[in-house]
Structure formats: C-alpha cells, structure tokens
C-alpha cells in the first residue's frame, strides 16, 4: 500500500489486522441524517455483529463501506483501500449479501453462480460453480431457477454466491431474516467456519441469539453508534442494575413499576419480568417496598443483551424525541 496524499489516513489503516476502519461517516437523504458521525474498527477474522432497530442506518452504513453510497463526510478504509476513492478495489475483495434477495430469479442456481464466477474472473467459472453447488449441497437442484427456492435455500445460495470469489471481507445484511431456526443455525455454523479460515464478517441482525454468537457487536440507533465491543463489554458498559421478578400478577406489577422514578426499563421475559435501572441505588430505593412486601419473588440478576439494547434505544429516543 502506498500512502495516499489526498485522503487523510490514520496510522491504524496501515495495520493489516484492521479490516474496516472508518471515522465520522455521515449520510443524509433529502436533508434527513440517516447515519451520524459513525466510527468503527473491525479486526481481521472477527465476526462483527451490527444491531439496531429498523431504519437505524445499518444498511446505509454497509453500503458506504463497500462504495455503493458516498458518505457526505467522514473517511476511512476497508481492507486498506480508501472507501471514497478506491471502491473498484474494494469490490474485488468484498462479498456483499444484500438485505433483499438480489440474485437473478430467472437464472438457475448454476447459471447464477457461473455469472458471479465470471464477473470475478475466476480461472474456471464452470468448475467454481460446480464446487460451490457441491459445498451448498444443492447438486439435485442445480438447474432449478433461483426464484423458485424456499427462503432458507435462497439465503444459502446468496451466501454461496458471496463467498465464491473468496473475498477477504463479508458484509451480510440481515442474512437470516425470515429463515427457520435450523437453517439459521446451519447458516451461523457456516459463518463461524469461514471466520475460522480467516475471513472477516460484518453481519447485521435483529436476533439476540445471533448477537451472542458474534465476537464483537455494535449497536446503532437513529444513525448513531451507541456502543460497541464484546457482548460482555457491552453489557458491563451499560451499568444496568437488574432484578428478575417471578410470581403472580406480573402484568399489574409492570404497570406500577413503569411509573416509578429510578426504574428505567421493565420488560417481560417469558414467565419473568426484568426490571432495570441505570442507577443501582435509585432502583433499590424505588423498588424496596415492592420487593419486601409484594407477593412476587425478586432476585438480583444479570442484565441481558436485550435489556441493554432496549435501554439504549429508549435512552437515544429521549435524546432525539
């Protein structure tokens, strides 16, 4: 890599172990900011989870990383290439799986894969497609039109097409939306296998269980990156004091708790209720009466990732609403 004089580059960009390194990315559509001042670093070989509510700017961020959208401001590198000026290079080494299925529905599985192989100039496109079909276990369906596949198979095929050119970085935008649990598990096993081989994976998702399977996660809401790190770090950094409440009349209790000062989040979890507060002392004070005299059973618990996210989201809503 030669130094690019025009674009400012931080020393970290030269570090080959940092695959994604962006700073201050901002993007607006029609005057409305969708991604605000977003900075992130992703290390090689990691599975990096990208979480956030609908419309929070996940897809927009991913598109900026692979050169499909030009940021209004901010800069950075992807695989050491400048995201503003070297998108052609980035495209050769990045596999991007779009949120919406975007293979050709009127081409067969084999034809789709051969198309990808040719576009990436693989030495023997037919052989590459054949190998991919075998890897995907789609031998019997190779001639079936991609549009006729079920949701789970479509996602597998899309992933297969993405990794066919052996990219160094995978950008997966909600790859398991609408896929059954078994197919999801298989999908994640595959992603872990790929990461083990040295591929870096940035994956957006709405599922908490998938977030827990990531090495690191980032949470974005209303265009702002609110937290990032390992799951344990994210939970710890939230400093949420939490009680798990079981027993009768939880619905009424939840209603009462919400109005209390010092209780920031009340969320039902199956047969239990999670009650959290950012300030442990205030939470204790506010709930003492109910804990000591109520018919329910209170137990100090660990905040879950979901508690943290819901809290983060409501906090950022407070700031913007």
């Amino acid at each position: 890599m030669t130094m690019d004089v025009a674009a400012p580059r931080r020393p970290a960009a030269a570090d080959p172990e940092i695959v994604i390194d962006v700073e201050g990315l901002t993007k607006s559509f029609g005057g409305r900011p969708v991604v605000k001042n977003l900075s992130m670093q992703v290390r090689r070989g990691l599975i990096y989870g990208f979480l956030g509510p609908n419309g929070s700017g996940k897809t927009t961020t991913i598109r900026m990383l692979c050169g499909l959208l030009t940021p209004d401001s901010g800069h950075g590198t992807c695989l050491g290439y400048d995201i503003l000026t070297q998108s052609a290079e980035i495209k050769r080494h990045v596999g991007y799986m779009t949120q919406k299925f975007s293979l050709y529905t009127d081409l067969s599985i084999r034809e789709n894969l051969e198309f990808v192989a040719r576009v990436y100039n693989l030495a023997d496109p037919r052989q590459a497609a054949r190998d991919a079909i075998r890897r995907l276990g789609l031998e019997n369906r190779a001639e079936q039109l991609a549009g006729e596949l079920s949701g789970g198979w479509k996602q597998r095929l899309a992933l297969g097409a993405c990794i066919l050119p052996e990219p160094q970085l995978l950008l997966l935008d909600e790859p398991t939306a609408g896929v059954d649990p078994k197919a999801r598990r298989d999908f994640w096993d595959e992603i872990h296998a790929l990461a083990h081989e040295g591929m870096t994976v940035l994956v957006s998702t709405h599922y908490m269980d998938e977030a827990e399977r990531c090495h690191e996660i980032a949470y974005i809401a209303y265009g702002e990156l609110l937290t990032q790190g390992t799951v344990a770090e994210v939970v710890a950094n939230a400093h949420l004091a939490t009680y798990t409440v079981t027993g009768p009349g939880l619905a009424d209790l939840a209603e009462r708790l919400r109005s209390l000062d010092g209780v920031d989040m009340v969320a039902p979890f199956g047969m239990a209720l999670h009650v959290s507060g950012r300030d442990g002392a205030r939470l204790d004070a506010a709930t003492r009466e109910l804990r000591e005299h109520g018919p329910q059973h209170w137990e100090p618990g660990e905040a879950t990732l979901e508690d943290v996210f819901i809290d983060l989201m409501s906090r950022s809503k407070d700031n913007f609403g």
């Binding site: 080959p16 598109r63 692979c66 050169g67 499909l68 959208l69 030009t70 998108s87 052609a88 290079e89 495209k91 050769r92 080494h93 990045v94 991007y96 779009t98 919406k100 299925f101 975007s102 293979l103 050709y104 529905t105 009127d106 081409l107 034809e111 051969e114 198309f115 990808v116 040719r118 576009v119 990436y120 100039n121 693989l122 030495a123 496109p125 160094q168």
Partner: protein, 390 residues
C-alpha cells in the same frame, strides 16, 4: 495477505479480464432473453406482423382506381387508348368529364384519382408525326396508390399505338413514343414509389423493437433489486452496457433476415446493391438504436419512464425521417430535426442499396452519421450510468 491481493489484481486487470466480464453479462442476458417467452415471441412476431399488416394494407399495387376521361378528339386512337386503359385493370373509367374544369374538380374532390385528357386533333397530329401531348393528371397524395398505375400507363401506350399504327402509318411506330405522355402528379411531386414502403418498414420495425428491448434493461435490474448486487461486483459500466446490448444485436440480425426474406418472397422486392453491405450497415443501425435505448434506460427512473422516452423518440422517427413524407418535401426545420435521427440516415442507406444499388462510397455520409450517433449514445450511457445508489 499482500500476495493474495496481487494475485486477485493480476487476474482481474487487463483486456482479457474485461472481455470475460463482458461475457458474463452477455451470457446472463442471453439466458434471460431465452427464458422470457413473451419477449422472445414478440421479437419474431413483431416484424412479421408489421410487415404483412403494413405491406398489404398499404396495397402497393392497387387496381381499379377511379378515373375520369376528357375526350376532345374523336379518332380511332383516342377510342383505342381508352379501351386499353380499361384493359390494364388499373383504371376504372367511371366518369366522362365534359371540360377541363370538371376534370380538375373531380380530382380535387377526390372522386377520381386520375384524369386523362386526350386533346382535340390528337389522332390527326399523331398521324402527322407531331407528337401530340396526352395529359394524365394523377392525385399522387398517396404515391403508392398511383405510382404503379402510372407505370402501367407508360407501358401501355407503346403497345396500343404499335397496333393502331400499321400499314402506311407504320413508320411512326418506332421506339420514341409517337406522342408525349405528360404526367402531372398533383399534391406530391416527389412521387415516391411503392418500393419505398418495405425497406422503410424495415428501418421502422428495427427502431421500435431495438429501442424498447434495451430501454428496459437497466431499469428492470433496478426494479427487481438485482442492481445492488451487480454494482457491488467488480464489473464496469461499459462491460455491463456491451453485455446487455450484444444479445439484441443477434435478435436484430434475426429480425433483419426475416424482413429481407419476406420482402423478397411476399413483396418481390429485390436487393439491387450488395447484400453484405446492406447487412453490415443494418447491423450498425441496429447498434445505434440499441445504444439509444440503453441510454434511455440509464436515465429513466423506472420501466414506465423508459417506455415513455422510447415512444417520445419513436414519434419523430416515423414523421420526420422520410418514412411518412418525402424528406425533401418537408420544411427546413423538420429536415434539420430529421438529420439527427438515425432512421433518416438508415432510410437513405436501405433504399439506396435495395432499390438503387448504391455502394459504400455513395452512402459514406450516412454511415458516418450512424457511427457518430452510436458512439455518442454509448458515451452518454456510460457517463450517465449510476455506479452508486446515491
């Protein structure tokens, strides 16, 4: 890591790699085209249907055209000429006019398409070898209707009079007609012939189909959501463009073949000039239209807009190219507009080669115009192609 990058870079740089990516797009489009049964059928059916519809509806050689005669000479020649006109089947001598004014009125009102005036002393002047004038007034507003009838009239006169002029008058018979056939074509002095229609139709059909097929190609990818993936791949706009255009060059070639064969078999229109020159230049014309359609496709936001743009472009092609009206008969501004339409130049090429045996040298300017047009459209398309989703 750096070894991996240089490996990929070596693989993906250069002309051969570019050719392979073009091939990827080309094969993909070809398969999609083959799967799209309706479009595929349309490609074959449109030229056949249009050709038979236009070719026969615009009857290139109509018979029994209403004709009025004004006979001011009572000689055997006059009578035999009128009888011979009847015998050709082209003329239906429905009215006998009493005066020149009446003859004019009949033509103007459209009651008859032809007026034939045999002036006084025609027979006598003929015998004296003074080559009297036989006046034929034709309503040539529809040149295809009257053209062949006039041709028949010209052929007819020599036979009639060689029969009449026998014996002592035989010396008057030799080739240059013993009289002068004065044809006045009214309303359309250019007097285009029927042969113009089918070659013109070839240009028109190719314009329409080629335009529409490529006009939809980019917008379709955007609407189906496949564009996002395509843009994220290392394929360049010019490779996408050529890959999308090339399959239709084949389709255009098939259409051209169908039309040429039909022109020969159904309408008996030969190719006087070089067939290969015609094929080559027709392919150039097809390419020009494909590039325009593709350009529309890169500008339009959706398929509907792309269709509208195509039709907006198609209309002046019908009206101002010389297909509908004789080019030289149009006002200056219309000719100026016509000059920037590829169909105008193609009509000169196709009519020139098919009907007049024109050679490449004769057509240089028009070929150059088509080539410039194609390159310009492709340049605009590549420049306009949005490489991001911004």
């Amino acid at each position: 890591m750096s070894a991996g990058i240089s490996d990929v870079d070596r693989r993906t740089r250069g002309f051969r790699a570019s050719l392979m990516r073009f091939g990827a797009a080309f094969i993909k489009e070809l398969i999609q085209l083959r799967r799209d049964r309706i479009t595929f059928a349309m490609m074959i059916m449109i030229p056949l249907l249009q050709l038979t519809l236009f070719g026969y509806a615009i009857n290139t050689s109509p018979r029994h055209l209403p004709t009025a005669v004004l006979v001011q000479d009572d000689s055997a020649f006059a009578r035999s000429f009128v009888a011979a006109m009847r015998a050709t089947d082209y003329f239906d001598i429905s009215t006998a006019a009493a005066s020149e004014e009446e003859l004019d009125r009949l033509i103007l009102s459209g009651k008859v398409l032809f007026g034939v005036q045999i002036p006084a002393h025609f027979g006598r002047d003929l015998m004296r070898g003074e080559r009297p004038a036989l006046l034929v007034v034709a309503d040539a507003a529809d040149p295809t209707a009257t053209g062949s009838a006039i041709a028949a009239l010209q052929g007819l006169s020599s036979q009639v009079f060689s029969r009449e002029l026998t014996g002592p008058a035989a010396s008057l018979a030799p080739r240059p007609l013993p009289y002068e056939l004065r044809v006045h074509q009214r309303y359309n002095p250019a007097g285009e012939t029927r042969l113009n229609i089918v070659p013109g139709l070839m240009g028109l059909i190719l314009t329409l189909t080629m335009l529409i097929f490529t006009a939809l190609s980019v917008t379709r990818e955007i609407e189906r959501g496949t564009m996002e993936s395509l843009l994220a791949m290392p394929i360049r706009p010019v490779e996408i463009m050529l890959g999308k255009i090339a399959p239709y060059l084949l389709v255009g070639g098939v259409q051209m073949t169908i039309i040429l064969v039909a022109a020969r078999l159904l309408f008996d229109i030969p190719v006087i000039g070089s067939l290969w020159l015609l094929v080559g230049l027709t392919l150039l014309f097809i390419l020009a239209n494909l590039s325009i359609g593709y350009t529309f496709s890169t500008i339009a936001q959706n398929q509907l807009q792309a269709m509208q743009m195509s039709f907006f472009f198609f209309l002046p092609n019908i009206l101002l190219s010389g297909f509908m009206f004789p080019f030289k008969g149009m006002p200056g501004w219309a000719q100026a507009v016509g000059e920037i339409l590829p169909l105008t130049h193609y009509l000169r090429i196709v009519r020139g080669i098919m009907l007049k045996g024109a050679t490449f040298t004769d057509l240089q300017t028009d070929v150059l115009a088509l080539a410039v047009f194609t390159l310009f459209a492709m340049g605009v398309a590549v420049a306009r192609f949005r490489q991001t989703l911004d």
